[in-house]
């Protein structure tokens, strides 16, 4: 029986899963459908509310790339966000550029800021990075307050251009479409990172950094890449802000509500996948928009705080985790 052939076990079918290109196309299609739907509604408030929600989708997704995939908490989301917003103000004033080039430059500024903070603190593990990002926010705010070119503590006015590009019916509609495209791109980037080698490496160092390092994962480099991408995307989220309200001042741009929301949204949705921040951001920011309109703006922050504490205590895997456990 020496020549008996043991039949090879049939190889298990690989799990069906969209490729990168497929996911990007799906995200683009979803964005296009949403733009058309919003145009159908055509009300300025719908545009404003949608822009508000989508800006948080970008911010939360960006935070999750470092916080969720790599496990490093960034309390300075507001700093990156405001850096983006003030890049728009400064570049727009200096060179008279429109919104789109400003977004590109904001991405570079945010990426550089993230890389710098990362180089300073990411060699240390644990809470040091989180504390440094808290300080970053204070340092940046001090600089903006003392920088009179962008309005200092008085704030700056940004006038929306009179002519609306690409045939939109109003500037609010154009702004909303831009932020929508940004949100779709952010989600697609997050998904690409999640399933790539970078995402695997980040997950390894999140679970056990020493073991990952011993297994040959270049932890410091991966962390720096993640911090830069995350910082760039947060700045991009903030870049359209001056046009949204036509006015910007340091206290609100560096407001704690951005920092707390950027953390609360992914944690409530679930940090392990791209869908978590999306779910969390849509839920929480719609809730806040509703609470601001119906109750008061102080109460809506209280709601976020309570929801955050309840979720991290009771459902540490977020909403997605709740559904996965039941299945």
């Amino acid at each position: 029986m020496s020549d008996a052939i043991i039949p090879a076990l049939p190889r298990p079918a690989p799990p069906r899963r969209l490729g990168h290109a497929g996911f990007w196309l799906a995200a683009a299609a979803a964005a296009a459908i949403l733009i058309l739907a919003l145009r159908g509604m055509g009300s300025e408030y719908a545009y404003f509310a949608a822009t508000f929600v989508l800006q948080y989708v970008v911010l939360a997704t960006a935070w999750n790339i470092l916080g969720g995939y790599a496990g490093y908490v960034n309390f300075g989301a507001a700093a990156f966000f405001a850096a983006g917003a003030y890049t728009t103000v400064a570049v727009g004033k200096a060179f008279g550029l429109g919104l789109l080039p400003c977004i590109g430059i904001a991405a570079m500024v945010g990426g550089a800021l993230g890389l710098g903070t990362g180089i300073l603190t990411l060699r240390l593990r644990g809470a040091y990075f989180a504390i440094a990002t808290l300080c970053l926010s204070v340092v940046l705010q001090t600089f903006i307050v003392n920088w009179s070119y962008v309005g200092g503590s008085r704030g700056a006015y940004i006038l929306r251009p009179r002519d609306v590009p690409f045939g939109f019916d109003s500037y609010g509609g154009y702004l909303c479409a831009v932020v929508l495209v940004l949100a779709a791109a952010a989600i697609a980037i997050a998904r690409s990172i999640e399933v790539s080698r970078l995402g695997l490496g980040l997950a390894a160092l999140r679970d056990d950094e020493a073991a990952a390092e011993a297994a040959g994962v270049p932890t410091l480099r991966l962390k720096l890449i993640a911090t830069s991408i995350s910082g760039a995307m947060m700045a991009v989220a903030g870049a359209p802000l001056p046009y949204l309200g036509s006015y910007i001042e340091p206290t609100s741009a560096f407001g704690l509500s951005y920092a707390v929301n950027a953390i609360a949204m992914p944690l409530i949705g679930g940090t392990a996948s791209w869908a978590g921040p999306l779910i969390g951001a849509v839920l929480l920011s719609s809730l806040q928009q509703a609470a601001t309109v119906t109750i008061s703006s102080a109460a809506n922050l209280l709601i976020v705080g309570v929801v955050l504490v309840v979720f991290v205590c009771v459902a540490p895997r977020g909403i997605i985790g709740l559904f996965r456990r039941r299945r």
Binding site: V139, I263, A298, P316
Partner: protein, 293 residues
């Protein structure tokens, strides 16, 4: 005397007094963050809670604010012990305290601050201690009692805490839990009980620092934010678990901040101080007075 020199000396002296206040705020954090490894970023929010309660009680009773804050300490101790029980139950026991625990304290900070805004309003509160208007003059140097008294009380409290940690059995157990909690179990001491006790002490110090703060300056619900970076900076610069290093770092921090404020204007002082922290983190993460880990 040369006016610049006088300005510098005044800046240094009032910086030292300010540093005494910072030391009180940082000492509590040095216990929770430095010794227990609980990253309590809500610490300054509890300090502000203490400050506002003292302000309200002062308005109602007219007692000395620092006395009131010492009387409040047991209540804050109980609050801290309760908070630690929740933290331990949901995070430490499960072993994922890193992100979730940080987010928990972030949420707690938010609830405290917004709760304060809703309860006492967003305006500034202040107290008028009996000695607040007096200023001693030593030559060219002004020593306002409004700052000297809180700083002295704070440093005395820290001294008492240091004696407690050094000489009592429980105090030594707290120092031990910072190093090795399993070894503590072998000595038949419950590390959870010790940590609960220590976290309570940490919050009691937050309340005390709040009482000192409201004597020095008016306080509103959001005043804690400026302190988050400051107290963490001081604790890290002081080398995490060393109380002496913490006090020295606090005094140095107060001087740097105050001298910057008197020469370049107060709006620059936060940036310089936090620049110091970023530098310390980058160059000497074990702190200026800490030992190599």
């Amino acid at each position: 005397m040369d006016p610049d020199l006088a300005l510098l000396l005044n800046g240094v002296v009032s910086g030292l007094l300010l540093g005494g206040l910072y030391a009180a705020a940082a000492a509590g954090l040095s216990i929770s963050f430095g010794m227990l490894d609980v990253v309590n970023i809500a610490h300054p929010a509890f300090m502000v809670l203490g400050a506002l309660i003292v302000a309200l009680l002062w308005a109602a009773t007219g007692l000395d604010p620092l006395l009131l804050s010492i009387l409040l300490a047991p209540a804050f101790w109980a609050l801290g012990a309760g908070l630690y029980v929740i933290y331990h139950h949901f995070f430490e026991r499960r072993g994922d305290e890193a992100i979730q625990g940080l987010a928990f304290f972030f949420g707690v900070m938010f609830i405290v601050e917004v709760g304060l805004v809703l309860a006492v309003g967003p305006e500034q509160h202040f107290v008028d201690a009996a000695y607040a208007a007096t200023t001693w003059r030593l030559g060219e140097i002004d020593v306002p009692l409004r700052m000297l008294v809180p700083a002295t009380v704070a440093l005395a409290a820290i001294g008492a805490l240091a004696l407690f940690l050094r000489h009592s059995f429980t105090g030594r157990a707290i120092a031990a839990v910072a190093q090795d909690r399993d070894a503590l179990r072998l000595l038949a001491i419950d590390p959870i009980r010790i940590k609960r006790l220590a976290f309570g002490i940490s919050l009691a110090f937050a309340g005390l620092a709040g009482g000192a703060l409201v004597v020095v300056q008016p306080v509103d619900a959001w005043s804690g934010h400026v302190f988050i970076g400051r107290v963490f900076a001081i604790v890290i610069m002081g080398g995490l678990s060393s109380l002496g290093g913490c006090v020295l770092a606090a005094l140095a921090f107060g001087v740097v901040e105050n001298v910057t404020a008197s020469f370049f204007g107060p709006s620059w002082s936060p940036a310089v101080a936090f620049g110091c922290l970023l530098l310390v983190l980058a160059v000497r993460p074990q702190g200026l007075f800490g030992r190599m880990a």
